[in-house]
Amino acid sequence: MTAAEPGFPGTAPGSGQPTRGKVRDMPENHEIGARLGQAVILPEILAAGFDAFEAIRMAARDHQDRVPTLFAAFMTTANAAVDGREALTIAPSLPPAGQARPGQVLPEETGAGEAADALAVLAAALGERLRQAAVLAEVPGDQAACQQGAAAARRICELMTRGERDAGLR
């Protein structure tokens, strides 16, 4: 592990400045983020949430081997994404799969640090959406699924949010 390694956590991409202890802005718009934002009714939120967890899982798996110091963080994130997806799978209001698919949440060349930032943002949005959905849900099964999904999303957000120590890593 060297300081020059691309994607190493510590600086905001392009800025050269470290970001401390908070989720940065989403680096770019992506389909799943837009779907989450546009979902209004519970089935839509659940379907978008399922796909969002799946997108996070795939992105975490794609990036887990790029930087040794983030291996454990990405592995754990993928695991939490599966937890979240599993929670939503049994929601009674989850509609059957349609045309929409998770798709790629990050471009291939995204560095590990940048990917972590993006996943933290997506997970934060997902967690908030599911938290709201849990309030809207009338069926106990939906409510429980949304609550567990929101907890998994919060965990992903915590796992992927960069911290104070990043500045000292180089």
Partner: protein
């Protein structure tokens, strides 16, 4: 083993000392003192005889291979002679309570303490077995085979033979010594005189019962290292532990993982916690532990090259790190399989006790590998790898860190085997599914989960096979390294690691459905999956879709082949001279007919039809049968 866990040596050492102190007493023993001494000697001999009773009988349900099977039979004379020695002593001490007997004289006190320590040591050994039906003992720990192994049994018998001989000589001496005012032997002295030959005989008999003549120092060390079969207390989960504390706590955590693994193995078939969520967490923690261990071993190799450049230790450490890479990569692959495969979601299932312990192990190994003392598997706590000099300042530091990694790897090896067995059962019970939303759109399944394709379950089981092999290889490399540097963990190499039963055997466990195909066959991807793999697609969801497409294509071809064969077969049965009949039979009719067991007009079942080779010309007999079949069909 870890120092916080009581080991047999903790009791054997003091017993040694107390016996040595008792027999080195030089003064005269009064009548009363000698009676009290005899009372304690009786206790000591009885305790020693119990060790001989514990030796595995020849009919043990889980006998160890080798000469130790006969040890119990060969120790029978020793048991008898020890019993006779104790009986000859008993009348001289009749009427004395244990309290009276041990408080009055220092020799009695030493013998009493020796008996207590040996009894406690025996209790410790007994924690590794449980009584089964019909007097059969069931092994309850990984150490149980070690306890009944030839070298350790020989070492134990050697110790007992030594004690018996020492006590025989001392008894003889005491029986002949007379206090100044006394010229005739007292009753206690006569009792000792009677016991002496029995003790000498017992010593010789115990020696003769030894399965190995010269067990050696290593066997004695192994005997002393046997721990009590109970999990050590959970080390406090404080962050900021220094390297020395991590090196103390990792073996304890590993021991807890081993205990939880063995304990839960018996419950895996029925426990609600035996789910994909638990197995997924095990794989995750094992991968992180292995990854951290690899980093640690590379740092140790670098440090060893600085501290011991002229030895082959750095190269061996680097080789062990390479083995560890294979190990964690195989666990990473298993975690990837669990991304898609699942046993479903059950809100009250909970996690296995192994999941809790192995998460601790991953955390501590990470904190040893990385510079951040508060390291956790998160972006927030990510940290550079620990500096080799910080990891191990001295050669002793290398041994301490190596011991920690050795324990962690050994524990993970056992998790691999146990999880593999549990997953084999889950597969055989058809418990593994995939979320239907991850299936292609044309799979219209009105349920959240569908049964997992066989190709995926086979790949998962192959993944476990690979993890067991790779992790065991890393553990063996560390066994050798530990032996090389005389690390405290070198005893781990003597404990047999559970092996994987052949897959074919496992599939025929009671209550399991037999698998449709021989299991040793590796999963061969179909054309669609091969195409994805050529494109270096590793996403399990996409590979799953490809596998389902391949499977659907395979099923379609298989069904079509069956129909075609059935059609050809029936056509072959129809005489060529009856073209009209040929024309009246439609393929759809043929496909819907069970030709293999059709009732005959005379009430017989036609089994011939299924055995006729369509490609061969019909014999007169077959033609006749076919004609009957056709005529029956026309009814």
């Amino acid at each position: 083993m870890a120092s916080a866990t009581p080991v047999f040596g903790d009791f054997l050492g003091p017993a040694d000392e107390h016996i040595a102190a008792a027999v080195s007493f030089r003064g005269d023993l009064s009548y009363d003192a000698l009676r009290r001494v005899i009372r304690q000697l009786d206790r000591l001999l009885t305790t020693m005889a119990r060790f001989l009773t514990d030796l595995p009988p020849p009919g043990d349900s889980q006998p160890c291979a080798g000469p130790e099977r006969d040890t119990a039979a060969r120790a029978a004379p020793a048991q008898l002679t020890l019993d006779r020695a104790a009986r000859s002593l008993r009348p001289a001490a009749a009427g004395l309570t244990a309290t009276q007997a041990c408080t009055s004289h220092q020799v009695a006190g030493h013998l009493s303490a020796a008996a207590d320590h040996l009894a406690a040591g025996r209790d410790l050994l007994q924690t590794h077995v449980a009584p089964g039906t019909g007097g059969i003992r069931i092994r309850k720990s990984y150490w149980a085979p070690v306890i009944t192994s030839a070298p350790v049994t020989a070492a134990l018998l050697g110790v007992l033979a030594g004690y018996t001989q020492t006590l025989a000589l001392w008894a003889g001496k005491q029986s002949r010594s007379h206090p100044a005012a006394q010229r005739t032997p007292t009753a206690p002295q006569l009792a000792l005189r009677a016991a002496e030959p029995w003790l000498l005989l017992a010593s010789a008999a115990i020696q003769a019962a030894q399965p190995a003549r010269h067990p050696g120092l290593a066997a004695r060390k192994l005997l002393e290292a046997i721990p009590v079969n109970a999990p050590p207390p959970r080390p406090p989960s404080a962050t900021g532990e220094p390297v020395s504390r991590l090196c103390e706590h990792i073996p304890l955590t590993a021991e807890r993982v081993r205990h939880a693994t063995l304990t839960f193995a018996d419950d895996a078939r029925w426990s609600p916690a035996a789910t994909s969520a638990s197995w997924r967490c095990h794989a995750l923690a094992a991968a992180i532990t292995g990854h951290g261990s690899e980093l640690i071993l590379r740092a140790l190799a670098e440090r060893a090259s600085q501290l011991s450049p002229d030895t082959d230790l750095p190269a061996r450490l680097a080789a062990a790190a390479d083995d560890m890479t294979c190990a964690w990569q195989s666990w990473r692959a298993i975690a990837g399989h669990w991304d898609i495969l699942t046993t479903g979601t059950s809100p009250h299932a909970g996690m296995t006790p192994v999941a809790v312990e192995i998460a601790d192990l991953a955390l501590r190994t990470g904190r040893l590998a990385y510079r951040n003392p508060h390291w956790a598997p998160s972006h927030h706590q990510a940290s550079p790898i620990r500096d080799p000099a910080d990891l191990a300042g001295t050669p002793g530091g290398i041994i301490a860190v190596l011991t920690a990694v050795h324990h962690a790897t050994d524990a993970i090896t056992r998790v691999a085997v146990t999880d593999h067995q549990a997953v084999v059962v889950a597969v055989a019970d058809n418990r593994l599914c995939v979320p239907t939303r991850l299936l292609p759109e044309n799979y219209d399944i009105p349920a959240p989960y569908a049964r997992a394709p066989r190709s995926h379950t086979d790949a998962l089981l192959s993944g476990y096979d690979a993890a067991i092999t790779a992790t065991a290889r890393a553990a063996i490399a560390l066994d050798r390294l530990a032996a090389l540097v005389s690390a405290p963990s070198s005893v781990l190499g003597a404990i047999p690691r559970p092996s994987v039963p052949a897959r074919e055997d496992q599939r025929h466990l009671p209550e399991q459905r037999p698998a449709p195909q021989p299991s040793g066959v590796m999963h061969m991807p179909g054309r669609a999956e091969q195409q994805l793999r050529k494109l270096r697609i590793r996403d399990p969801a996409l590979l799953l879709r490809a596998a389902l497409i391949d499977q659907a294509a395979h099923d379609l071809v298989a069904e079509a082949t069956t129909r075609a064969r059935g059609r050809d077969h029936l056509m072959a049965q129809i005489p060529r001279s009856a073209p009209g009949i040929r024309r009246t039979i439609r393929p759809a009719q043929l496909a819907s007919q069970d030709t293999s067991a059709r009732p005959q007009p005379d009430g017989q079942v036609n089994h011939d039809a299924g055995t006729v080779q369509p490609s061969l010309p019909a014999t007169p007999h077959q033609s006749s049968t076919a004609a009957k079949a056709c005529s029956s069909r026309r009814w």
